[in-house]
């Protein structure tokens, strides 16, 4: 399929530049919504930066494992045309019909032929290069085990004997004569997600990076930790291979303008990055290792990130030291690193010795990307990132060219995923869906009838890097598998979900004529479908596989007791094996898809998501509980960049109200809900008459927003001089005289956030404070403004405004969580007392106005009701809980549900808009389908056993069973939700729930309790 453009009409093609996680997400969203995509990456395989990460917070999963299924999906998607080692030369034309010229440097490998056997590398290691730092023994040019495409690449210049190299390859896949070629395509839109480089600290002599091998960047440290890294996941000190006992992280290297050549912005992701690395390190070595993070402000502003920081400090005892070390000096004697720093309590500098230092280097736009942008005529901002508008976060200055991920601005994975989906949504608008191609017929072998065969079980054990292999001896486990009855094959397959392993399993199934498969790996929740698809491709019914969760539910939780873990792994394998014997082929049912969308909430997110979908011809119902649109954003006057919010909101509201594709339902309360993705039924009651209305829709998007927090502290609500930042925002527009009259204004941050009542960081308060401070100074330049904060979290480019505020004389004073400022009413004002950390003594100031940064809290009441009615999970703070914190940030765990805006977590308007467009993009991936595939896990009645007793009819939570004309219970598989309650209650045992049949469950028990000595 590679490089074959024939199948694709150009008008509906979209070019995605950059095969990082953002590019993959965008490409997959587009492909799933029926668009044809050309995904290009300049490196030899896709994956981008994330493939160098060991694990990601907050679950500390191995990222390769969470990502790789996505990647091979990416590879599998028939709509995606993948070009590696390819860059954009030229773009002309405009939205709807661009002409792009690509240039592809030679790989010297025939992708169709290369089997990735690795022979070429074994003989000629020198011609393969591997380079995200720290690489002593270039293992292979496949940058990580799950690389796509699954093929090598040759660096011909490094090759001495081309002939010999050619001969090495039995597949004859090496093409020395290959030359770089130019490809020209017609595309409707372009999405840029080229990612970013990380700051190179070698220029900073005071950190000895490059001189001293024990000073590494955070990315290099990831590689050291990574199972697929140069040290196979062994944590050793590069200098002498000893296990380090003290590691220091130094934050803001190349960010916040701290060092020469450093960017002035905040790189946003490094704090969590460092915390995660420290926690993972602690996890590995508990108390035998000491981890210290030197930071200025701990910027854990994302959803539940604050709690993650709490855990780092309290559970894992990571030392957080607020200070900027001024030097790292290697100590020849000890071989250690002397780090000198000044504690922020003003006490004199200290020097402490560490074994390793990790520099948390920030992001920067690479030269090549800057050039590319130039050729496209894309406007860049002061920091060379693509310029975007606060009200249109992923659109570049060139219509039809969209941007997502790091190139738009420093950010972490979830935000990148959001922007990717948003960009996909907008790009899709510029193009037409392609003719839908049924994938199965394309890739699957015809299904083999195994009904007459004796079970031939194949057991495949993943080591999942160290996740499983590090705790139990997988080889030994596979041997054990061989001893089980009816097992034909039992083997270890490395990363089972990796492309190569999947191919091995595929081949084994076919060659060994297997008719049942057991995978010993991670949770079926995340990987079952992947392996089911694999079976299908291998010509087996997808329900003939059983997954033994030996990772999440064994090695991850019993790492402390390898023997127990080993025994349990055996149990789980035995259970799965004896149960899979009884599995039999099942057929799935499908239903027509409702293409309508229900959007709940008419704020900026709700309206934007509704419009994004309606613009593409979908019918949208927008249910708003208030009698007008606008939500919280409707009360905001100005953005930090000074944009006029009311004007924007008014336009948005009018567009929404006038759009023929959108029906706005005011005063609407959701009262009931049934159905499944593609055919939901939701009941509304509409005030004031409270009449009832039911809406049929295919997907649901929750944009129910959040509430401005108004805790009754610091005299808020009691004293007219005390107000919230939101009040101040209004005041700034409506009562200039009062502002002019103010001489001193105090602001207190983290009011009602990062506290026991609400552990969350509200994310937006720091920037609002800075925003209002600057506006106050605009009106009244000699006003004295004090901002009392715990950590200034002006992430990304908002750091510039923080800087500006300081330059313009705003005084920022930090306070400790346990020593908050005290306030006392004064005549016409407020006295604020606080402890100055430098002087170490408390100061009092009289303010004309006290401005509280109260942030946002979940609308607990509303979200609780909705969670109840829609059966959704929520976080402790009452925000909706996404399906996967990193990779599916807007998908809720109930299929067909998406969340956008502050209902997900506190966000500013720009982020809400990105969310809204992204949610629309995600929704399209479902709506593109014309039928709903129902699982086969449905209840089936054996009419011979049925006593027509009505128990199932009465027990079914959804009233599906009925006694049919023939006098026995009938259950419509299309309607059955597959809970199995009827099966459990049937007194005649006449009902079985497919995939969970009694004999399968009992067989599991047999497998577990079989009294055999292992």
């Amino acid at each position: 399929m590679m490089n074959d453009q024939a199948t694709m009409p150009s008008h509906n093609k979209i070019l995605v530049v950059g095969g990082g996680i953002g590019g993959i997400r965008a490409a997959m969203d587009l492909a799933e919504s029926g668009r044809n995509v050309v995904l290009i990456d300049k490196s030899v395989s896709i994956g981008g930066l994330i493939t160098q990460l060991d694990r990601t917070f907050p679950t500390n999963d191995c990222d390769l494992c969470t990502l790789s299924p996505r990647l091979s999906e990416g590879g599998r998607q028939e709509h995606i045309d993948l070009l590696t080692m390819t860059e954009v030369k030229k773009v002309s034309g405009d939205v709807g019909n661009f002409t792009v010229t690509l240039s592809q440097t030679p790989r010297y490998i025939d992708l169709e032929k290369c089997t990735a056997c690795g022979d070429c590398f074994k003989v000629f290691p020198e011609c393969v290069s591997f380079n995200p730092g720290l690489d002593h023994r270039a293992p292979t040019c496949m940058r990580y085990p799950q690389a796509i495409p699954q093929a090598y690449a040759i660096d011909m210049h490094k090759c001495q004997d081309v002939k010999a190299l050619e001969n090495v390859c039995k597949a004859g896949a090496i093409l020395p004569q290959q030359t770089s070629k130019e490809i020209e395509l017609e595309v409707g839109a372009v999405i840029l997600c080229p990612g970013a480089d990380v700051f190179d600290p070698s220029g900073l002599d005071h950190f000895e990076y490059g001189k001293n091998p024990d000073v590494v960047t955070s990315l290099e440290y990831e590689r050291i930790l990574s199972a697929s890294g140069p040290t196979q996941g062994e944590l050793v000190r590069p200098s002498d291979g000893k296990k380090p006992e003290k590691i220091a992280w130094i934050q803001c290297v190349g960010s916040r303008g701290l060092q020469k050549g450093a960017a002035s912005y905040c790189s946003s992701a490094c704090c969590m990055f460092a915390l995660k690395e420290a926690i993972v390190t602690k996890e590995r070595f508990q108390d035998s290792i000491e981890t210290t993070i030197f930071y200025m402000d701990m910027r854990t502003f994302g959803k539940e990130y604050e709690q993650y920081r709490e855990r780092a400090e309290n559970e894992f005892h990571v030392n957080l030291v607020r200070s900027r070390p001024h030097s790292i000096v290697g100590d020849e004697a000890t071989g250690g690193l002397d780090i000198t720093f000044a504690p922020d309590d003003g006490s004199p500098s200290i020097t402490e010795t560490f074994d390793m230092a990790v520099l948390s280097t920030g992001f920067k736009v690479s030269e090549s990307v800057r050039k590319m942008a130039g050729t496209m005529g894309i406007e860049l901002n002061a920091h060379d990132f693509a310029k975007t508008d606060e009200f249109s976060p992923v659109a570049t200055s060139v219509p039809g060219i969209y941007v997502c991920g790091l190139f738009e601005g420093p950010k972490d994975i979830p935000e990148t995923m959001v922007q990717a989906s948003a960009a996909a949504c907008l790009a899709a608008k510029a193009t037409q869906p392609a003719v839908h191609i049924d994938e199965d017929t394309l890739v699957n072998l015809p299904e083999r009838d195994v009904s007459s065969e004796e079970p031939r079980i194949g057991i495949f054990i993943c080591d999942c890097g160290l996740n499983i292999g590090g705790v139990v001896d997988t080889q030994n486990l596979a041997e054990f598998g061989k001893t089980l009855p009816q097992v034909a094959v039992s083997q270890v397959v490395g990363h089972g979900c990796s492309r190569s392993s999947m191919d091995i399993i595929h081949k084994t199934i076919v060659d060994e004529k297997l008719n049942r498969v057991v995978i010993g790996g991670c949770s079926p929740r995340t990987h079952e479908t992947k392996f089911q698809d694999l079976l299908q491709r291998a010509g087996l019914n997808k329900y003939l596989v059983e997954i033994a969760n030996i990772r999440d539910q064994d090695t991850w939780v019993h790492a402390d007791d390898p023997e127990a873990a080993k025994q349990k792994a055996r149990h789980l394998i035995r259970m799965a094996t004896s149960s899979v014997k009884n599995a039999h082929p099942l057929i799935e049912h499908s239903l027509p898809m409702h293409k309508e969308i229900l959007v709940v909430g008419g704020g900026v997110s709700g309206m934007t998501t509704a419009l994004s979908l309606a613009d593409q011809g979908f019918k949208v119902f927008l249910a708003e509980k208030a009698p007008q649109l606008g939500g919280l954003a409707g009360r905001i006057k100005k953005t930090i960049e000074g944009r006029d919010v009311p004007v924007f909101m008014e336009a948005l509201t009018q567009k929404t109200l006038q759009h023929p594709g959108i029906e706005v339902i005011f005063n609407a309360i959701i009262v009931d809900h049934t159905g499944m993705p593609g055919m939901f039924k939701t009941g509304l009651q509409i005030a004031p008459q409270m009449y009832y209305r039911q809406i049929e829709h295919g997907v649901t998007i929750l944009a129910t927003g959040a509430l401005q927090n108004r805790p009754e502290t610091f005299l808020l609500g009691e004293n007219p001089a005390v107000m919230t930042q939101l009040d101040m925002d209004t005041l700034l527009e409506e009562d200039l005289d009062r502002i002019k009259a103010m001489r001193t204004v105090a602001m207190i941050q983290c009011v009602g956030s990062r506290c026991p009542e609400n552990q969350n960081c509200s994310r937006i308060c720091c920037q609002s404070a800075v925003k209002n401070a600057l506006r106050l100074l605009d009106i009244n330049p000699d006003m004295r403004i004090f901002v009392l904060y715990r950590d200034m979290r002006t992430y990304g480019f908002t750091e510039d405004y923080y800087l500006e505020a300081r330059k313009r004389g705003v005084i920022f004073v930090r306070y400790e969580k346990d020593a908050p400022p005290q306030v006392r009413p004064e005549k016409d004002g407020i006295e604020v007392t606080f402890v100055d950390p430098i002087l170490g003594q408390s100061l009092a100031l009289s303010a004309d106005c006290l401005c509280l940064s109260t942030g946002l809290v979940a609308d607990d009441e509303a979200s609780e009701d909705l969670a109840m009615i829609f059966r959704l999970q929520r976080t402790g703070e009452g925000f909706f809980l996404e399906d996967h914190v990193k990779l599916r940030p807007l998908d809720l765990s109930t299929p067909g549900f998406f969340v956008a805006g502050t209902a997900h977590s506190p966000k500013n308007i720009k982020e809400c808009i990105a969310d809204a467009q992204a949610a629309a993009g995600r929704a399209q991936t479902l709506l593109a389908k014309n039928s709903i595939e129902l699982g086969a896990a449905v209840a089936r009645v054996d009419s011979n056993k049925c006593a027509a007793c009505l128990v199932c009819v009465r027990a079914c939570p959804f009233d599906i069973p009925f006694i049919n004309a023939d006098g026995y219970s009938e259950i419509d598989p299309a309607k059955c939700h597959g809970c199995g309650v009827c099966a459990a209650e049937c007194p005649a045992k006449a009902i079985q729930l497919m995939q969970f049949e009694d004999d399968q469950i009992l067989a599991k028990l047999d497998g577990l309790l079989e009294r055999m000595v292992a």
Partner: protein, 147 residues
Amino acid sequence: MKQFEPVIVAFCCHYCAYTAADMAGSKRLSYPANVNIVRVPCSGKVDAIHLMKAFEKGADGVYVAGCLEGDCHFKNGNTKVARRVAYVKKLLDEIGIGGERLEMFYMSAGMGERFARVATEMTKKIRKLGPNPTKAMSTGNQGEAVA
């Protein structure tokens, strides 16, 4: 003589308890390896027979873990099974196996900690109760099912 290691079967609903178990995994919260999970789409799928057979086959303890009350993905499967569990507890008392070897728990998908705590408590409790009486007589079966 090494301490008795019970075999415990936990029937976990896919949407909450099983997810909570995975959550415990990703948070690396360790709990006794004695607990073996059987995944069911809804706790309401767990049949009285499954519970009985688990003990008959030699489990020392069994528990069903479903969604929090009111949160069942299928409306009320969890409360339905809770009634069954209570019924089977009586049966077990009648035949001298001991109803206290069977329990019902509720937890949400996010409650990895609770899953680990429940697993630990249940294991402690069953350790105290000793092996399933059906194994008591047939010699040397004690640790074996675990071995």
